[in-house]
Symmetry: C2
Subunit: 128 residues, 2 copies
DNA sequence: CAGAATCCCAAATGATACTG
DNA sequence: CAGTATCATTTGGGATTCTG
Protein backbone atom coordinates (compact mmCIF):
# COMPACT_ATOMS: atom_id res chain seq x y z
CA UNK A 1 0.00 0.00 0.00
CA UNK A 2 1.13 3.49 -0.75
CA UNK A 3 2.53 5.18 2.24
CA UNK A 4 0.59 7.99 3.72
CA UNK A 5 1.58 11.34 2.29
CA UNK A 6 2.59 12.80 5.62
CA UNK A 7 1.25 16.22 6.08
CA UNK A 8 3.55 18.89 7.31
CA UNK A 9 2.11 22.08 8.53
CA UNK A 10 4.21 25.24 8.32
CA UNK A 11 4.64 24.68 12.01
CA UNK A 12 8.16 24.73 13.17
CA UNK A 13 8.39 20.96 12.85
CA UNK A 14 9.62 21.19 16.37
CA UNK A 15 12.02 18.35 16.93
CA UNK A 16 13.88 18.19 13.64
CA UNK A 17 15.66 21.12 12.09
CA UNK A 18 14.12 21.14 8.62
CA UNK A 19 10.73 22.55 7.71
CA UNK A 20 10.05 19.73 5.20
CA UNK A 21 6.68 21.12 4.20
CA UNK A 22 3.77 19.10 2.92
CA UNK A 23 4.21 18.56 -0.83
CA UNK A 24 0.70 19.75 -1.52
CA UNK A 25 1.32 22.97 0.30
CA UNK A 26 4.50 23.46 -1.67
CA UNK A 27 2.68 22.82 -4.88
CA UNK A 28 -0.02 25.31 -4.11
CA UNK A 29 2.56 27.88 -3.17
CA UNK A 30 4.24 27.27 -6.50
CA UNK A 31 1.16 28.02 -8.55
CA UNK A 32 -0.74 30.44 -6.38
CA UNK A 33 -0.73 34.12 -7.07
CA UNK A 34 -3.17 35.80 -9.36
CA UNK A 35 -1.18 35.40 -12.55
CA UNK A 36 0.89 32.26 -12.00
CA UNK A 37 -1.39 29.84 -13.80
CA UNK A 38 -2.31 32.15 -16.66
CA UNK A 39 1.36 32.81 -17.39
CA UNK A 40 2.52 29.27 -16.95
CA UNK A 41 -0.24 27.75 -18.93
CA UNK A 42 0.13 30.22 -21.73
CA UNK A 43 3.79 29.33 -21.97
CA UNK A 44 2.90 25.67 -21.97
CA UNK A 45 0.44 26.13 -24.79
CA UNK A 46 2.83 28.20 -26.82
CA UNK A 47 5.57 25.68 -26.30
CA UNK A 48 8.23 27.79 -27.93
CA UNK A 49 9.79 31.16 -27.27
CA UNK A 50 7.79 34.31 -26.69
CA UNK A 51 8.88 37.85 -26.28
CA UNK A 52 8.09 39.68 -23.09
CA UNK A 53 5.64 42.08 -24.65
CA UNK A 54 3.86 39.34 -26.55
CA UNK A 55 3.42 37.43 -23.35
CA UNK A 56 2.13 40.48 -21.61
CA UNK A 57 -0.50 40.94 -24.29
CA UNK A 58 -1.36 37.27 -24.11
CA UNK A 59 -2.11 37.33 -20.41
CA UNK A 60 -3.46 40.85 -20.30
CA UNK A 61 -4.22 42.84 -18.32
CA UNK A 62 -1.21 41.91 -16.24
CA UNK A 63 1.15 44.66 -15.25
CA UNK A 64 4.76 44.65 -16.30
CA UNK A 65 5.92 44.42 -12.75
CA UNK A 66 3.89 41.35 -12.01
CA UNK A 67 4.82 39.62 -15.22
CA UNK A 68 8.47 40.27 -14.55
CA UNK A 69 8.26 39.13 -10.98
CA UNK A 70 6.40 35.96 -11.76
CA UNK A 71 8.69 35.08 -14.65
CA UNK A 72 11.69 35.55 -12.39
CA UNK A 73 10.20 33.20 -9.86
CA UNK A 74 9.50 30.55 -12.46
CA UNK A 75 12.96 31.00 -13.85
CA UNK A 76 14.51 30.56 -10.42
CA UNK A 77 12.57 27.36 -10.01
CA UNK A 78 13.57 26.08 -13.41
CA UNK A 79 10.10 26.05 -14.89
CA UNK A 80 10.79 28.78 -17.41
CA UNK A 81 13.91 29.75 -19.30
CA UNK A 82 14.95 33.23 -20.32
CA UNK A 83 16.97 34.07 -23.37
CA UNK A 84 18.43 37.54 -23.90
CA UNK A 85 19.50 38.71 -27.32
CA UNK A 86 22.14 41.41 -27.44
CA UNK A 87 20.24 43.55 -29.86
CA UNK A 88 18.86 46.99 -30.00
CA UNK A 89 16.08 47.40 -29.27
CA UNK A 90 16.51 44.73 -26.62
CA UNK A 91 14.82 41.40 -27.06
CA UNK A 92 14.14 38.80 -24.42
CA UNK A 93 12.37 35.56 -25.03
CA UNK A 94 10.81 33.20 -22.55
CA UNK A 95 9.91 29.60 -22.96
CA UNK A 96 8.69 26.73 -20.87
CA UNK A 97 11.31 24.21 -19.79
CA UNK A 98 10.95 20.45 -19.79
CA UNK A 99 10.32 20.58 -16.09
CA UNK A 100 7.64 23.17 -16.63
CA UNK A 101 6.12 21.10 -19.37
CA UNK A 102 5.96 18.11 -17.08
CA UNK A 103 3.42 20.05 -15.06
CA UNK A 104 0.87 19.89 -17.80
CA UNK A 105 -0.81 16.57 -16.97
CA UNK A 106 -1.12 17.62 -13.37
CA UNK A 107 -2.56 20.98 -14.29
CA UNK A 108 -4.98 19.34 -16.66
CA UNK A 109 -6.01 17.04 -13.85
CA UNK A 110 -6.77 19.99 -11.60
CA UNK A 111 -8.82 21.51 -14.34
CA UNK A 112 -10.51 18.16 -14.79
CA UNK A 113 -11.69 18.01 -11.22
CA UNK A 114 -12.92 21.55 -11.45
CA UNK A 115 -14.89 20.87 -14.59
CA UNK A 116 -16.46 17.78 -13.13
CA UNK A 117 -17.18 19.18 -9.71
CA UNK A 118 -17.06 22.92 -10.10
CA UNK A 119 -20.79 23.22 -10.57
CA UNK A 120 -21.37 21.36 -7.33
CA UNK A 121 -19.43 23.98 -5.46
CA UNK A 122 -21.71 26.54 -3.94
CA UNK A 123 -20.86 30.21 -3.56
CA UNK A 124 -17.98 30.12 -6.00
CA UNK A 125 -16.87 33.66 -5.62
CA UNK A 126 -18.64 36.90 -5.18
CA UNK A 127 -15.76 39.00 -6.38
CA UNK A 128 -18.07 42.00 -6.60
CA UNK B 1 -6.80 14.43 -29.48
CA UNK B 2 -8.12 15.97 -26.31
CA UNK B 3 -9.51 19.37 -26.84
CA UNK B 4 -7.53 22.29 -25.61
CA UNK B 5 -8.51 23.37 -22.10
CA UNK B 6 -9.16 26.96 -23.05
CA UNK B 7 -7.49 29.32 -20.73
CA UNK B 8 -9.44 32.23 -19.39
CA UNK B 9 -7.58 35.03 -17.83
CA UNK B 10 -9.36 37.13 -15.23
CA UNK B 11 -9.59 39.63 -18.07
CA UNK B 12 -13.03 40.89 -18.75
CA UNK B 13 -13.72 38.13 -21.28
CA UNK B 14 -14.74 41.00 -23.43
CA UNK B 15 -17.47 39.85 -25.77
CA UNK B 16 -19.54 37.57 -23.54
CA UNK B 17 -21.04 38.60 -20.25
CA UNK B 18 -19.72 35.86 -18.01
CA UNK B 19 -16.25 35.73 -16.50
CA UNK B 20 -16.02 31.95 -17.02
CA UNK B 21 -12.61 31.71 -15.40
CA UNK B 22 -10.01 29.11 -16.23
CA UNK B 23 -10.74 25.95 -14.19
CA UNK B 24 -7.15 25.76 -13.05
CA UNK B 25 -7.29 29.26 -11.69
CA UNK B 26 -10.52 28.42 -9.89
CA UNK B 27 -8.99 25.33 -8.44
CA UNK B 28 -5.96 27.16 -7.16
CA UNK B 29 -8.16 29.81 -5.63
CA UNK B 30 -10.09 27.07 -3.90
CA UNK B 31 -7.08 25.59 -2.17
CA UNK B 32 -4.80 28.56 -1.80
CA UNK B 33 -4.48 30.33 1.47
CA UNK B 34 -1.93 29.38 4.03
CA UNK B 35 -4.03 26.85 5.89
CA UNK B 36 -6.45 25.54 3.31
CA UNK B 37 -4.58 22.39 2.39
CA UNK B 38 -3.48 21.50 5.91
CA UNK B 39 -7.05 21.74 7.13
CA UNK B 40 -8.64 20.02 4.21
CA UNK B 41 -6.18 17.22 4.07
CA UNK B 42 -6.35 16.61 7.77
CA UNK B 43 -10.10 16.29 7.51
CA UNK B 44 -9.68 13.93 4.59
CA UNK B 45 -7.29 11.75 6.55
CA UNK B 46 -9.48 11.70 9.60
CA UNK B 47 -12.49 10.84 7.51
CA UNK B 48 -14.93 11.20 10.37
CA UNK B 49 -16.02 13.96 12.68
CA UNK B 50 -13.59 16.13 14.61
CA UNK B 51 -14.19 18.76 17.18
CA UNK B 52 -13.04 22.29 16.56
CA UNK B 53 -10.36 22.29 19.20
CA UNK B 54 -9.03 18.90 18.14
CA UNK B 55 -8.71 20.17 14.62
CA UNK B 56 -6.97 23.28 15.81
CA UNK B 57 -4.41 21.21 17.64
CA UNK B 58 -4.02 18.98 14.60
CA UNK B 59 -3.14 21.83 12.28
CA UNK B 60 -1.34 23.93 14.83
CA UNK B 61 -0.25 26.64 15.06
CA UNK B 62 -3.28 28.01 13.28
CA UNK B 63 -5.21 30.72 15.02
CA UNK B 64 -8.81 30.26 15.99
CA UNK B 65 -9.91 33.02 13.70
CA UNK B 66 -8.25 31.52 10.67
CA UNK B 67 -9.50 28.05 11.36
CA UNK B 68 -13.02 29.35 11.73
CA UNK B 69 -12.83 31.41 8.60
CA UNK B 70 -11.41 28.65 6.47
CA UNK B 71 -13.90 26.11 7.75
CA UNK B 72 -16.73 28.48 6.93
CA UNK B 73 -15.44 28.84 3.40
CA UNK B 74 -15.19 25.11 2.92
CA UNK B 75 -18.62 24.69 4.40
CA UNK B 76 -20.07 27.26 2.00
CA UNK B 77 -18.53 25.40 -0.88
CA UNK B 78 -19.83 22.06 0.32
CA UNK B 79 -16.45 20.50 0.99
CA UNK B 80 -16.91 20.29 4.73
CA UNK B 81 -19.94 19.77 6.91
CA UNK B 82 -20.57 21.22 10.33
CA UNK B 83 -22.59 19.61 13.04
CA UNK B 84 -23.60 21.49 16.18
CA UNK B 85 -24.64 19.66 19.34
CA UNK B 86 -26.89 21.54 21.71
CA UNK B 87 -24.83 20.74 24.75
CA UNK B 88 -23.00 22.59 27.40
CA UNK B 89 -20.18 23.10 27.02
CA UNK B 90 -20.86 23.56 23.33
CA UNK B 91 -19.67 20.98 20.88
CA UNK B 92 -19.23 21.36 17.18
CA UNK B 93 -17.92 18.70 14.88
CA UNK B 94 -16.57 19.00 11.41
CA UNK B 95 -16.16 16.37 8.77
CA UNK B 96 -15.23 16.09 5.15
CA UNK B 97 -18.12 15.69 2.72
CA UNK B 98 -18.25 13.33 -0.23
CA UNK B 99 -17.45 16.20 -2.51
CA UNK B 100 -14.48 17.07 -0.36
CA UNK B 101 -13.37 13.48 -0.35
CA UNK B 102 -13.48 13.40 -4.12
CA UNK B 103 -10.61 15.85 -4.05
CA UNK B 104 -8.26 13.31 -2.62
CA UNK B 105 -6.98 11.69 -5.83
CA UNK B 106 -6.32 15.10 -7.28
CA UNK B 107 -4.54 16.28 -4.18
CA UNK B 108 -2.49 13.12 -4.12
CA UNK B 109 -1.59 13.76 -7.71
CA UNK B 110 -0.34 17.23 -6.88
CA UNK B 111 1.72 15.81 -4.09
CA UNK B 112 2.95 13.16 -6.48
CA UNK B 113 4.29 15.69 -8.93
CA UNK B 114 5.94 17.53 -6.12
CA UNK B 115 7.62 14.45 -4.78
CA UNK B 116 8.87 13.45 -8.19
CA UNK B 117 9.95 16.88 -9.29
CA UNK B 118 10.27 18.89 -6.14
CA UNK B 119 13.98 18.25 -5.80
CA UNK B 120 14.52 19.55 -9.29
CA UNK B 121 13.02 22.85 -8.30
CA UNK B 122 15.69 25.32 -7.37
CA UNK B 123 15.36 28.00 -4.72
CA UNK B 124 12.33 26.43 -3.06
CA UNK B 125 11.74 29.09 -0.51
CA UNK B 126 13.96 31.22 1.57
CA UNK B 127 11.34 32.12 4.13
CA UNK B 128 14.07 33.27 6.49
C1' DC C 1 11.67 46.91 -25.63
C1' DA C 2 12.26 45.17 -21.24
C1' DG C 3 12.78 46.14 -17.33
C1' DA C 4 13.77 48.64 -12.35
C1' DA C 5 12.25 51.81 -8.77
C1' DT C 6 8.50 54.00 -6.11
C1' DC C 7 4.38 54.77 -4.14
C1' DC C 8 0.01 53.19 -2.70
C1' DC C 9 -3.93 50.40 -1.62
C1' DA C 10 -6.50 46.16 -0.54
C1' DA C 11 -6.51 41.61 1.07
C1' DA C 12 -4.63 38.03 4.02
C1' DT C 13 -3.15 36.74 8.34
C1' DG C 14 -1.74 37.13 13.22
C1' DA C 15 -2.41 38.65 18.22
C1' DT C 16 -5.30 39.52 21.71
C1' DA C 17 -9.39 40.14 24.30
C1' DC C 18 -14.14 39.15 25.03
C1' DT C 19 -18.63 36.10 25.18
C1' DG C 20 -22.81 32.70 25.07
C1' DC D 1 -15.75 25.08 24.01
C1' DA D 2 -16.32 27.47 20.05
C1' DG D 3 -16.50 31.03 18.55
C1' DT D 4 -16.79 36.85 17.58
C1' DA D 5 -14.66 41.45 17.63
C1' DT D 6 -10.88 44.50 17.20
C1' DC D 7 -6.42 45.96 16.17
C1' DA D 8 -1.88 45.56 13.99
C1' DT D 9 1.09 43.76 10.61
C1' DT D 10 2.42 41.57 6.48
C1' DT D 11 1.86 40.47 1.81
C1' DG D 12 0.08 40.89 -2.93
C1' DG D 13 -0.62 43.54 -6.52
C1' DG D 14 -1.70 47.79 -9.38
C1' DA D 15 -0.29 52.52 -11.15
C1' DT D 16 3.14 55.39 -12.48
C1' DT D 17 7.57 57.05 -13.66
C1' DC D 18 12.28 56.40 -15.15
C1' DT D 19 16.15 54.20 -17.91
C1' DG D 20 19.76 51.39 -20.77
Amino acid sequence: MPMNPEIRTPAKAASDGLPAPCPMVSFVKLVSGKWAIPILYRLIIIGGAVRFSELQRAVAPITQKELTRQLRLFEQRGLVSRRIYAEVPPRVEYSITELGLSLRPTLDSLAGWMRENGMKLAAQDHHD
